[in-house]
Subunit: 349 residues, 2 copies
DNA sequence: GTGAAAGCGCTAACAC
DNA sequence: GTGTTAGCGCTTTCAC
C-alpha cells in the first residue's frame, strides 16, 4: 500500500524545500521560472495531489459549503426543486474545488438548528445556503450570525435579509397565470397556497391576491395547503365543495395542482372545460399528465448556480467589500392544456 | 472575534497537558477519574469543540462519506429515489458524526469517474455509496479498487460485487404485479423497461419476463424506456400502436407509468377499463393521479439507512473482518385503481 | 530566489 | 496516571 506523495516528497525529489514547492504549486511570485518548471514536473511525475485535509487545517477553511434541507418525509421524494438546485450548485462548486455537504433533517426547528450548529462548530463548511426562508424574521438569521457562518439566501426581490441574496421574481409568473385566466373570462379564481410561514408560500399567495386586485376581480376563495399531493387534494375538495365554487384554481406548486386535478376529475369535472388549473414549478411530469398542466417555470438550476457563485465569492473575500445581490430572470408562465374559458352555465355541485 | 477554544486552552485551564485532555475527551483508559471529571468540566465551561479538521488530519480520515449522483438533467427533479435514500443515509451519518458529501454529475462516464477520483484523491471521504449499479462489470468497481476507496453497493439479492452490499428484492414486487394482472385475466402484459445497462432496469425487466413465463403466459411486447416521463410517453405510444396492443402494461417506474396513462387516455382509452397499468417506486404523487396508480413500493429510506450503517462499519473496521451483506424486506405491491380485468371485446386501434 | 522553521489543532507513542 | 514530544501535510513568515 503506497502512501500518496506529500509535498515533502516532491521537495526532496526536486531538490528544493517544502516552502518553495508550496509557492510553486500555488502560483506565487518569487520562484525562479526554471525551478518552478522543475517542481511542477516532478509533482506531476510523482502524481502529487495536495492533501485537502492539510490545507483545510492550515487555512482554517473547509473548502466546502453546506446545505441543510428541512423537509417533512412525505415531501422528500416529491420536491422537484432541490435536486435541480443542487445540480446547479455543484457545477459551480466543482469548478472551484469546493464540496457540497448535505444535511437533511426531517424533524422540527431544534433538529434543524442543530444541523447548522454542527456544520459550523465542526468547521465542516465555510458557508451555507439558506433556502425556504421564513417570513418575518427567520430564526436561522440570528443563529447563523451567532455562529459566524456566512450564508446566502434565496428570496424574492423585495426581501430584505442581512445576508447576500439571490433573488428571483416569482410573483410575475403567478400574476401572468392569473391574468391569463382572467383573460379567458374567469372571475372566480381560487388559490391553493403553500405554508404561509415561508416566503415562497406567502409570496405566491400575495402575488395571486394582488393580481386579482389589479385586474379588478374580487378576492377568490383560498385554502392554505402544505405543498404535498395529499394536502392539495384536501384543499381542492374544500374549494369545490363551496356553494359557489371557483372556475379556476391557481396552485402554489405542481404537486398540489396535479392532485387537485385528480380530485376534480373524480368529482366529475372536466379539466379544463369545467375547471381551469395552473401549477407552479414546471416539474418534468407536469407536461405529461392529463391534461398537461399550465404552470410557472422557475429556473432551479440557475438559482443553484447563482447561489453557489455568490456564496463562494462571499466566503473567499475576507475584506468586507459588499457582495451585492444577484437577480435572476423572473419565473415565466408555461401555457399548456389545463386552462380554458370558464363554462357558460353555472354548475350545480 | 473570539477564536474558538482549542485543546491547549482546555489543558491550560485544567492545569494538565494536551495529551491528558485528549485522552479524557476520548474516554481512553489511563486518566484518573478526578482529573477526567475536571477536564470534562472545563471543556464544557469553555465551550470546547474538537476541531474536525485537526482530527481529520491526524487520523488521516475524513469522517465523511460520498455519494456521486450521475443523472441526466431531465431526471434530476423527478427521481423520487434519491431524496428519500439520502434522508435515510443522513439519519445514520448524523448519529455517527459523519457528513455526507454530494457530487452530482450530469455528463458522461468521464465526468462521473472524475467525480469519484476527486473525492478519493482529495481525501474528502472515507467511502462512497454505489447506486445505479451497471450490469456486467460496472466500470466503477475497478476505479474504486484502484483508488482504494471503500464502497458499498445497492443491488439485487443475486448480485455479486467485490464490495459489501445492501440487497433488496425488487423482483418479487414486479412478479406480484404480473401475477395480479394475470389473475384479473390479462394475457397480453407488456413492459416499459428502464435502461438495460442498469441492474435495476434490467432486473425489473427480467422479473417481468420470468413472471410471465412462470404463469405460462407468452412473453409480452416490450419497449425499453429511459425512466423519464417523456420516454414513458413515447414507449406507450409505440406499444398501443401495435396491431395487437397489450391489455396491461407494467412500467419500470411511476414516472413513465403516469406519462403512459396520459398517453393512453389521450388515445381514448379508459384506465383501467380498457388498459391496466402498474408502476414502480410508489412516489407520493402516484396515489393522487387519475386513476390512482397500482405500483410497487420500495423502501428508499430504509435502503439509505442500511447502506450508511454498512458503509460506516466497513470503513471503521481496519481489521479485515468480512462485513456481510445486509438484506432488506422485498418490495411489495400496492394495489390502487389502475388495474382491472381486461375488456371483453378486442378493441380496434 | 530559496531554505528553515513555526504554526494549524489534534492524536499517540514514549518517558517519567 | 500524567507530561512531553513528535507527527499528520500544508502554508507562511522571516532570514539569508
Amino acid at each position: 500500500m503506497r502512501r500518496s506523495p506529500t509535498i515533502a516528497d516532491v521537495a526532496r525529489a526536486a531538490g528544493v524545500s517544502k516552502g518553495t514547492v508550496s509557492f510553486a504549486l500555488n502560483d506565487r511570485p518569487g520562484v525562479a521560472p526554471a525551478t518552478k518548471a522543475r517542481i511542477l514536473a516532478t509533482a506531476e511525475e510523482l502524481g502529487f495531489r495536495p492533501s485537502h485535509r492539510a490545507r483545510a487545517l492550515s487555512h482554517s477553511r473547509a473548502f466546502a459549503l453546506g446545505l441543510v434541507m428541512a423537509r417533512p418525509p412525505e415531501l422528500l421524494g416529491a420536491d422537484p426543486f432541490f435536486p435541480a438546485f443542487i445540480a446547479g450548485v455543484e457545477t459551480e462548486l466543482a469548478k472551484a474545488g469546493h464540496a457540497l455537504l448535505l444535511r437533511v433533517v426531517t424533524g422540527g426547528w431544534a433538529e434543524e438548528a442543530e444541523g447548522y450548529r454542527r456544520l459550523a462548530e465542526d468547521g465542516r463548511v465555510d458557508g451555507v445556503f439558506l433556502t425556504d426562508l421564513r417570513v418575518g424574521t427567520d430564526p436561522r438569521l440570528e443563529l447563523l450570525t451567532d455562529l459566524r457562518l456566512p450564508a446566502v439566501t434565496l428570496q424574492l426581490p423585495d426581501g430584505d435579509t442581512p445576508f447576500p441574496a439571490v433573488t428571483l421574481d416569482e410573483s410575475s409568473g403567478v400574476a401572468a397565470a392569473v391574468a391569463h385566466l382572467a383573460g379567458l373570462g374567469h372571475r372566480r379564481i381560487a388559490h391553493v397556497a403553500g405554508p404561509q410561514e415561508f416566503v415562497h408560500g406567502c409570496g405566491r399567495r400575495t402575488a395571486w391576491c394582488e393580481a386579482l386586485d389589479a385586474l379588478g376581480l374580487p378576492p377568490g376563495p383560498e385554502v392554505v395547503g402544505d405543498f404535498t399531493a395529499a394536502g392539495g387534494a384536501i384543499a381542492t375538495r374544500r374549494l369545490l365543495g363551496e356553494p359557489e365554487p371557483p372556475t379556476a384554481i391557481v396552485y402554489a406548486n405542481d404537486l398540489m395542482a396535479i392532485a387537485g386535478v385528480t380530485v376534480a376529475q373524480e368529482l366529475g369535472l372536466r379539466i379544463p372545460d369545467d375547471l381551469s388549473v395552473t401549477g407552479f414549478d414546471d416539474t418534468e411530469l407536469s407536461g405529461h399528465v392529463n391534461p398537461p398542466l399550465t404552470t410557472v417555470r422557475v429556473d432551479a438550476l440557475g438559482l443553484g448556480r447563482a447561489a453557489a457563485g455568490l456564496l463562494l465569492r462571499h466566503v473567499d473575500q475576507s475584506d468586507a467589500a459588499a457582495t451585492g445581490n444577484v437577480g435572476l430572470p423572473p419565473a415565466e408562465l408555461v401555457l399548456r392544456k389545463s386552462t380554458a374559458p370558464p363554462p357558460a352555465e353555472p354548475r350545480n355541485t
